[in-house]
């Protein structure tokens, strides 16, 4: 059965690859019409009847209900801010990259509608520093939108004012964390903050702030176009609508695929991405970015349903980055490479993450280099239990943000699926290293 993409957010950039990022193309394809429609409604209507009704959940990784997040803003406290999170740093995730580069106006329109709904007069788009072309196009788009009266004073005669600022990050993974991003926007080190207070209460400059992902914001105009309730009919259970999945690794056709939630991993990997490269067998897959625990071939027919993956499969759909590994892969090597990333990108604030990620990386490095000990895997799990007590999602973490627990995902997955293979790589008498407590 051929599987089809359901192109909503990616439709314009797929159909107009030559100029999808220009305002001319955007206006010619119905752009900013939904903004007019939104401005005719009351902010609360946009929030409740459209976004909340659509069941839209954050596309950044945590999957929190967008309308619900907005409703946490304390009434009567102004100014409020909107921050659009475009600091896409999760390894193998590249959907926001595409949206920023190729459909920046869609982000802006979504951001204006979101700002209107939450009554913010200042929106920030935080773009990962490495997205040079994307930032350039986004800045051009903001300039064009100002010139056309979609941003600025008294937008389209509605009386609503909004300023949009594009801010480029300086290259820290942790700036993609909600509060780390706010710290970075304020000019501080991108270190996550203690919650509570949550950003909705005290966020940017200690004011109520909503932080939404680029894909989330890009979806909002389409929710208005389709109507919230209509949008909610897409998808499955509480996972409504479509999502862009970034498929990478050992597949024939890696790339971004926007599909309706509820299809299966097999639909995505075999139906759209062409299956495992060179006809090889699938060894394992990482379903939602480097932070998510791994899944196995037996999970291919499980549905892409956020709650299902979390509760039944003890993993997560996260940022929607699916990494596929064929039968020739050494899982320990993959785990080490991911651990190295997390050790490098830990911000250094919380002890368990700062020191734990260092230690995990060192031990995996030793195993990869043939100097592993039989007890090393249990040692990893033992102190990993102090980063993620219970070693399970949803995380009961000892750290401020989710980066610390993320470092344990590869280790937990090794233990869950490849314990024998790891132990086989740990030669008991290898290299005469001292064995403490053996």
């Amino acid at each position: 059965m051929p599987v089809e993409e359901t192109r909503i957010v990616t439709r314009r950039l797929r159909e107009h690859p030559e100029d999808s990022w220009t305002i001319e193309c955007y206006l010619a394809t119905g752009g900013y019409e939904m903004l007019r429609r939104a401005l005719e409604m009351a902010p609360a209507q946009v929030q409740d009847e459209q976004v909340k009704a659509s069941g839209l959940r954050g596309r950044g990784g945590a999957g929190f209900g967008t309308g619900q997040k907005w409703s946490f803003l304390p009434p009567g406290v102004y100014p409020r801010y909107l921050a659009v999170n475009g600091d896409e740093g999760e390894p193998s995730t590249f959907k926001d990259h595409m949206l920023i580069e190729r459909d920046p106006h869609q982000i802006i329109e979504g951001a204006i509608i979101a700002a209107y709904a939450i009554e913010a007069h200042h929106a920030f788009v935080y773009v990962r520093g490495e997205f040079a072309l994307g930032a350039e196009r986004l800045e051009q788009a903001v300039t064009d939108a100002y010139a056309s009266g979609f941003i600025g004073r008294d937008i389209l005669g509605s009386g609503f004012d909004l300023d949009v600022v594009v801010h480029r990050g300086a290259g820290a993974y942790i700036a993609g964390d909600e509060t780390g991003l706010l710290s970075s926007l304020e000019g501080e080190r991108a270190m996550p903050r203690i919650k509570p207070p949550f950003p909705a209460v005290q966020g940017l400059y200690a004011q109520p702030t909503v932080v939404n992902n680029v894909e989330t914001v890009s979806t909002i105009p389409h929710i208005l176009r389709m109507g919230g309730e209509e949008y909610a009919k897409l998808g499955v259970n509480r996972s409504t609508g479509t999502r862009i999945f970034s498929v990478s690794g050992h597949v024939e056709r890696p790339g971004n695929y926007e599909i309706e939630l509820g299809l299966t991993f097999r639909d995505l990997i075999e139906g759209l991405a062409g299956g495992v490269r060179g006809g090889k067998k699938l060894k394992f897959l990482i379903p939602g970015g480097a932070s998510s625990p791994w899944l196995m071939p037996q999970h291919l027919d499980e549905p892409l349903d956020m709650d299902h993956v979390t509760k039944e499969l003890r993993s997560m759909l996260g940022s929607g980055a699916v990494m596929v590994y064929d039968e020739d892969t050494n899982p320990v090597l993959v785990a080490w490479r991911l651990a190295k990333f997390f050790a490098r990108e830990s911000c250094g604030k919380c002890t368990p993450c700062r020191e734990g990620s260092f230690w995990i990386e060192r031990i995996l490095y030793r195993i990869v280099n043939g100097r592993g000990r039989p007890q090393d895997l249990d040692l990893l799990l033992s102190f990993g239990n102090h980063i993620v007590p219970g070693l399970n999602a949803p995380f009961a973490q000892t750290t401020i943000c989710a980066l610390g627990p993320s470092t344990m995902s590869p280790v937990v997955s090794l233990d869950r699926w490849f314990r024998d293979e790891v132990l086989a790589q740990c030669a008991p008498a290898a290299a005469g290293i001292p064995v403490a407590g053996a």
Partner: protein, 914 residues
């Protein structure tokens, strides 16, 4: 729903204006480990637990810093919340059930310690923290038994200097952020921060800019491991060899509480002790390392007498006899007013009282001044209503009419900064130049030196509710709306190069505002105590004017001066013209420290007989006829009084080498040689006499001072509610990296205090009268002379400055720097290197008018002298004025050479050098 076209962003409320809805503090019940405790809603769980006897381990959390949640050591379980919560950032709510001792919590704590230790070197045997290290202690108490890490730890070059005083060992750092938060939140000098990320995270200073702050070494005390070490203490002692005594620092008149530590009769360290009303645990670096001067090789430890033109060592009896004879000779041949005493601010209250009694009661002279022309009229200091330091926190507004606090009273700056910045008290800056508090000021109104009176009056009108007639004060008027509380004027000598009349004029105007009180920003260590106890002309001990106290003190001392005497300027002039025949320098160095060096030199060159009571030979006293060596801070017991009038104990930690004596005993010995026997055996005997004779010090006797935790603010009758009594002063046993938590501060009942005094009397033999209050005692002792009333200032001083000013003139503003040419700095090796060369600074406009560039040499001419100096533009200096630091003995020029103490202002002619 359409909203009107929006408010522009510029008119949005300040981001800092957002406050959580204010709720009255309500009491909540929290269950901690099965025990129900009462707490204030919103208080932090870690503090509530600690106040009720449950110690939750922590590294990054500190009472005085914002919670940051970095170390994760204080994780606990809270029922109804998922996983673990950091107790340092969890506010208590009603009905909260907390577990701090469950196996899960223990397991996580052990895990966190294991993480902290994986990159922490186990070099405890050579680490200065070893033995008092929280990481060591908590590893023992909560940690795993052995390491499971076989990987190599991270390595750095160790140690690296952060400044001349501080070394950083990055391997030992556990990234708690205490130091960086102190620098940012408390000192307002974010000069250190975290660099890099992950396990490479390190504390860094800016490239090419060391962490030079007047408060830098507080971070060493805050560091929970041995990562930050202070150069003077590195490898000096092991903590278990130290003995410690709580005392007050007397480097400036804030008198921060500290724990003075010694080993083998050698002072090695001063640690700040958290005193809520005074210093919050902070010290400045000068106070922290002053102890080095006590051990200086330059100390004079033996009496000396001048024989054949040379000072030679002699015995105490010889020296005392010679001094007494010289003083008596002057008195008997030229009259009592031919004797003068300069200084006394360095000593204790007991020293001051003893010398006041010797000078005024025995020698009969009123030519006594503890201030060396750099303070304010004693009438203002003693007569204006006093504020406490803590009043800054709750003030309606703060008026700053003082020199740069960060340089002169450093820890007061921290309090004022906190009030203005964190507590958002409006601050109006009337100082003559931009200073450390300017950036926190609500309004800034500067005037030419001497002209402060007008702007002071304008501020007074605004504080009184009138609309401002000066645009600069509009922000103040706006900020005052809806605020209540007292107005606190921080009053000091803003400029050593003018007479201080302008400041006093402003003070007079401000004193008329309802509910206004004054915090005296006068610098010298115990100057307030010395003035309170009569080391000032026109006053007798206990804040009593000479005439008002005449009968009372005649009865107790036998005599008081017949007429009022001279202040420091007058004494120096009188010494120069021969009116003063015998001069006592009580720890005073007028040549170095008087803002008119020429006058001081002339006086000392002419004075026929000079007695020096000092610990060092200085430019002034090296030609003394008799040199009597004095004990210094750390070597003697007693009490001192700070700027707010708070009396606290200072304690001896070591016994002095050689044969120096405390000043009070020198006075008592001299009195004996002059035929008066004072029956004092210890400083506490003097304290008891002070309590019995000095009206302002009524009831503040040795026993009360031993028991009052935060000392006593004078007069006790007005501040009885703030006295916190403790059973007994105990030595500090745990080194105060951790804030000390004495029993919760309960203001004692007035009755309890009275009852306690009575009860105390039964412990040891005392006069019957002492059991009752002083009023009763006085009537019992003296039916004739009633207790004199404390001095209250009534009439303004009417001096207005006049000057011969021309277009080339810049009016000089001179103030002190923390590290100056004084003996405390030059005798402390660690501080001596911190002196910065002075710069002549003027407004860039004036500099450009001269046609010179920054760093060019100019010639400056005052009525005293002509000198060359390099000039620098600084837009914090008011146009028409220039600034030059005072008493910084670097090559170049010292403002003391330029000033004429009799002139109302000092105008400098500044010319280019061709």
């Amino acid at each position: 729903m359409k909203r009107p076209p929006g408010v522009p962003m510029s008119q949005w409320p300040s981001p800092h204006g957002y406050v959580l809805p204010a709720r009255p503090p309500e009491e909540v019940t929290v269950t901690i480990d099965g025990r129900e405790v009462k707490a204030k809603a919103g208080d932090l769980l870690i503090r509530v637990a600690q106040d009720h006897g449950t110690y939750i381990p922590r590294f990054c959390w500190h009472e005085r810093l914002m919670p940051v949640g970095m170390c994760r050591m204080c994780l606990v379980e809270v029922e109804g919340m998922r996983g673990f919560q950091i107790s340092c950032a969890t506010a208590v709510t009603d009905g909260m059930v907390v577990h701090t001792q469950t196996p899960a919590v223990k397991d996580v704590q052990e895990g966190i310690l294991e993480f902290l230790l994986i990159n922490h070197p186990l070099d405890c045997p050579i680490c200065d923290r070893g033995g008092e290290c929280p990481l060591q202690d908590q590893t023992l108490a909560f940690g795993p038994g052995e390491s499971r890490l076989i990987e190599e730890k991270r390595h750095w070059e160790k140690p690296t200097p952060l400044s001349d005083l501080i070394y950083l060992d990055r391997e030992r750092c556990i990234q708690c952020g205490r130091c960086t938060r102190f620098a940012d939140e408390i000192a307002g000098e974010p000069m250190i921060a975290f660099g890099e990320r992950g396990w490479r995270t390190e504390v860094v200073a800016f490239p090419d800019q060391p962490y030079t702050s007047n408060f830098s070494c507080n971070v060493v005390q805050l560091c929970p491991v041995g990562a930050l070490t202070a150069r003077p203490y590195r490898f000096v002692a092991r903590p278990w060899d130290l003995g410690s005594t709580e005392t007050s620092c007397t480097m400036c008149a804030v008198q921060c509480r500290g724990s003075l530590e010694s080993t083998s009769n050698h002072l090695v360290r001063l640690l700040g002790v958290d005193s809520e009303p005074v210093n919050h645990g902070w010290l400045c670096d000068k106070g922290r390392f002053y102890y080095e001067a006590v051990h200086s090789d330059d100390r004079v430890r033996t009496p000396m007498i001048r024989r054949e033109g040379e000072l030679v060592e002699c015995s105490w009896p010889e020296a005392l006899a010679a001094a007494a004879e010289g003083l008596a000779h002057a008195r008997d041949t030229h009259g009592a007013s031919s004797v003068a005493v300069l200084g006394g601010a360095r000593g204790t209250n007991e020293d001051a009282y003893a010398w006041a009694r010797l000078a005024k009661g025995v020698l009969g002279t009123d030519n006594v001044d503890a201030q060396l022309g750099d303070g304010l009229d004693p009438e203002a200091i003693l007569g204006l209503p006093g504020a406490t330091i803590a009043d800054l926190d709750r003030a309606r507004a703060i008026v700053l009419l003082a020199p740069d606090l960060r340089e002169e009273l450093p820890v007061l700056y921290l309090r004022a900064r906190r009030a203005a910045d964190e507590l958002e008290v409006p601050l109006v800056d009337l100082a003559p130049v931009a200073n450390c508090l300017t950036r926190y000021a609500t309004a800034v109104a500067r005037s030419l030196p001497g002209g402060e009176g007008h702007v002071g009056a304008a501020v007074a009108r605004v504080l009184g509710g009138e609309a401002p007639d000066d645009d600069r004060l509009q922000p103040l008027a706006d900020a005052l709306a809806g605020r209540t509380g007292p107005v606190v004027v921080v009053l000091g000598r803003t400029n050593l190069a003018d007479s201080g009349a302008g400041v006093l004029g402003a003070a007079e105007a401000l004193a008329g505002v309802a509910d206004t009180s004054f915090l005296m920003a006068i610098r010298r260590g115990n100057v307030r105590g010395a003035l309170d106890l009569g080391l000032a002309p026109r006053f007798l001990p206990g804040r009593v004017a000479l005439d008002a106290g005449r009968a009372w003190f005649t009865e107790r001392w036998g005599a008081v001066p017949a007429s009022s005497g001279l202040d420091a300027v007058g004494i120096l002039d009188a010494a120069a013209d021969g009116t003063v025949q015998a001069l006592v320098l009580l720890g005073a160095d007028p040549v170095g420290d008087f803002p008119d060096r020429e006058r001081a030199r002339a006086a000392l060159a002419s004075a026929p007989f000079v007695v020096a009571v000092d610990a060092f030979l200085t430019d002034s006293n090296h030609r003394a006829d008799v040199f009597l060596p004095a004990e210094l801070w750390g070597e003697k017991d007693g009490s001192v009084t700070n700027i707010e009038g708070r009396v606290q104990r200072v304690a001896a930690r070591i016994s002095a080498d050689g044969v120096p004596m405390p000043d009070w005993r020198v006075a008592a010995e001299l009195a004996r040689y002059l035929g008066h026997a004072w029956d004092w055996r210890s400083a506490e005997d003097v304290q008891d006499e002070i309590a019995a004779t000095c009206p302002a010090h009524a009831e503040v006797d040795a026993r009360l001072l031993r028991r009052a935790r935060d000392g006593v603010v004078l007069p006790l009758a007005d501040h009885r509610d703030s006295v916190v009594l403790e059973p007994l002063r105990v030595p500090i046993t745990h080194y105060s990296w951790e804030p000390l938590h004495p029993t919760p501060a309960e203001p004692s009942e007035p009755d309890a205090l009275a009852a306690d005094t009575a009860e105390g009397a039964s412990d040891r033999p005392r006069d019957e009268d002492a059991e009752s209050t002083l009023e009763d005692a006085s009537t019992a002792v003296s039916p004739i002379a009633p207790v004199p009333a404390l001095y209250r200032r009534v009439a303004p001083s009417g001096r207005t400055p006049t000057s011969t000013r021309d277009a080339y003139s810049l009016r000089l503003v001179s103030g002190r720097t923390l590290y100056d040419g004084g003996i405390a700095v030059s005798a402390s090796p660690s501080l001596a290197g911190l002196v910065r060369p002075p710069r002549l600074r003027c407004h860039p406009q004036d500099r450009d008018r001269l046609g010179v560039a920054d760093g060019d040499e100019v010639r400056i001419t005052s009525s005293r002298t002509t000198a060359n100096a390099t000039v620098h533009g600084d837009d914090g200096v008011v146009a028409g004025t220039c600034t030059l630091a005072f008493n910084v003995a670097t090559d170049g020029i010292d403002a003391a050479e330029l000033i004429d103490a009799r002139a109302p202002v000092t105008d400098l002619r500044v010319e280019t050098v061709r």
